[in-house]
């Protein structure tokens, strides 16, 4: 049991590490093509990473050891998230269930690490970015918890792999109002948490609007590579989670070579479709004003709340 869980976790980590930069590259390429540009190609993020990893990090005077430790903490929390979420298989360790609350808290660890990196340099932009980042995560948290609570009511457990397994057994539940509302709310929350449009523009370096870029502004070389890869991994894992919940097919429920290969191909296909859709939607969106972000988050909170009430409707009826 725990041996096959280890195989699944390890392959999840390897596959997501290999795929996330490609997902980012695909999103950038789709965006560039839709805007009439050629774009750097799907492999460009990998080339960027290789370049950054070879470079020596330059640390500004007065920065503490956190400039090195923060990126590593973000990276390890992202790797833990990749290992925990049931992206390829629903087999889990006995002692370490992939409970949603565990996953969210591991994610938050990474969020705090990046925010501290932003504060550590002592520049105005870093502090501003960290403050905005923490505000948004505080607003995202209730939505994530409520929407997964709604998803967990029919299953009776907040363990992600059990939710995915229940959906594999009975695909009709995917189309129920509860799951659609909860997934919509979860999607908005994921988009906000990973700093995509309309909450944060990942391509901007305009002082007044940047959030994620403001926090990593003072990092360079290897540290910057870990920060970038860590946040890409978060995006990849969360996108994989949402698309697995929406389309559970392909996820293996027991260990076999064929099952694992099918699961990897299915995950790659899901991520490719999700990335294309997300990038295509992003082209049509403008970044909302920072003061209207709470509005968006309140909207997704209400959707998650409605999902919870609607699930009681089903249980009673």
């Amino acid at each position: 049991m725990s041996a096959s869980a280890a195989v699944f976790s390890l392959s999840q980590v390897l596959v997501v590490v290999a795929l996330s930069p490609l997902v980012i590259g695909l999103m950038r390429t789709v965006r560039a093509r839709l805007e009439g540009r050629v774009g750097g190609g799907v492999l460009q993020p990998w080339r960027d990473l290789r370049k950054l990893l070879r470079k020596e990090p330059l640390v500004a005077d007065g920065r503490s050891w956190w400039a090195v430790a923060g990126p590593l903490l973000l990276m390890s929390s992202s790797l833990a998230v990749c290992a925990l979420t049931p992206l390829l298989g629903t087999v889990t360790f006995d002692r370490l269930p992939d409970d949603l609350f565990v996953v969210v808290s591991v994610l938050l660890l990474g969020t705090v690490a990046v925010a501290l990196v932003g504060l550590d340099a002592g520049t105005a932009f870093g502090g501003m970015g960290s403050s905005r980042h923490m505000t948004i995560s505080a607003l995202v948290e209730p939505t994530v918890l409520l929407s997964v609570y709604a998803l967990s009511i029919p299953v009776g457990s907040s363990v992600l792999s059990e939710i995915v397994e229940a959906r594999l057994d009975d695909p009709a539940t995917v189309l129920s109002p509860v799951s659609l509302l909860a997934l919509l709310a979860l999607t908005i929350a994921v988009v906000a948490e990973t700093g995509r449009l309309p909450v944060d523009n990942p391509a901007t370096h305009l002082e007044l609007t940047m959030i994620h870029e403001a926090m990593v502004l003072e990092s360079s070389g290897r540290d910057l590579a870990w920060l970038e890869l860590g946040s890409w991994l978060r995006l990849g894992a969360l996108m994989g989670l949402v698309s697995t919940l929406l389309v559970p097919w392909g996820v293996a429920s027991e260990l076999s070579v064929v099952g694992l290969l099918v699961a990897i191909l299915a995950l790659a296909a899901k991520l490719a479709v999700a990335a294309t859709v997300l990038a295509a939607v992003e082209v049509a969106l403008a970044k909302v004003r920072l003061f209207r972000v709470p509005e968006l988050m309140a909207g997704s909170f209400v959707l998650a709340f409605l999902a919870v009430t609607a699930s009681y409707l089903v249980v009673q009826g």
Binding site: L175, P177, G299, F301, V302, L303, F305, L306, L313, G317
Partner: protein
């Protein structure tokens, strides 16, 4: 139609009705609100059609067609003609309470709807009865839009949302009303909307604005 499909279709259309109501509260652009109202009209027609097919009632299916034509096509078109006149006032700029607060109010009102419709839920465990709170919630949300928006067309949209909610409750609990009564009610709503449309355009030509809060005093 098999029972499970019936249950799923009723749930799906009820969820669509509620989702449209929430999005009407969320969005501030009048064009988007009108489009959502049209989608809601189609969802209501779908709900009636599902109920009609389930009960093998030709009358309900014809009512569904009537609902689709009136609430899905005619009323949205009348409303968009009202707003097409001036592009500048196509947004509800300053609702009485901000969007975040009204979205939180939406969650409280939905909870209230579930609480007050508990006596109805006791009556039976059919999917139609289980969806009654959605109708009550739509009615309450209609009141919310009516009382917090300043723009005349927004208030009209709130009124139609209220009407949709009442119709939903009627169809879910009583299996619909006789065709004659439904025809009368529909014509009533249509007339009210037409009169209010004329009134709104008169207000706008008179005052250059359709903000009802500016009209609290009498003048010669």
């Amino acid at each position: 139609m098999p029972e499970s499909t019936y249950t799923q279709l009723v749930e799906l259309s009820a969820a669509l009705l509620l989702l449209c109501a929430v999005l009407i509260v969320w969005r501030r652009s009048l064009g988007a609100q009108i489009r959502l109202l049209a989608v809601q009209g189609w969802a209501l027609a779908g709900l009636v059609a599902v109920l009609g097919v389930h009960e093998d009632s030709v009358e309900l299916v014809s009512v569904a067609v009537l609902v689709a034509v009136l609430k899905g096509v005619v009323l949205p078109r009348v409303l968009s003609r009202t707003t097409a006149a001036d592009r500048a006032a196509a947004r509800e700029e300053t609702p009485l309470i901000n969007t975040t607060a009204s979205l939180l109010a939406v969650s409280f009102l939905t909870m209230l709807a579930y609480l007050v419709s508990r006596p109805v839920l006791v009556l039976g465990s059919t999917p139609a009865v289980a969806a009654v709170p959605v109708g009550v919630a739509m009615t309450l949300l209609g009141f919310l839009v009516l009382s917090t928006r300043r723009h005349a067309v927004s208030q009209l949209i709130g009124f139609l949302l209220l009407d949709n909610g009442i119709a939903t409750v009627a169809f879910l609990t009583a299996g619909g009303v006789p065709l004659v009564v439904e025809l009368g009610v529909s014509l009533d709503v249509l007339l009210v909307v037409l009169i209010l449309q004329v009134l709104t355009s008169r207000i706008r030509t008179e005052f250059g604005d359709a903000d009802l809060d500016d009209m609290t005093e009498l003048h010669d």
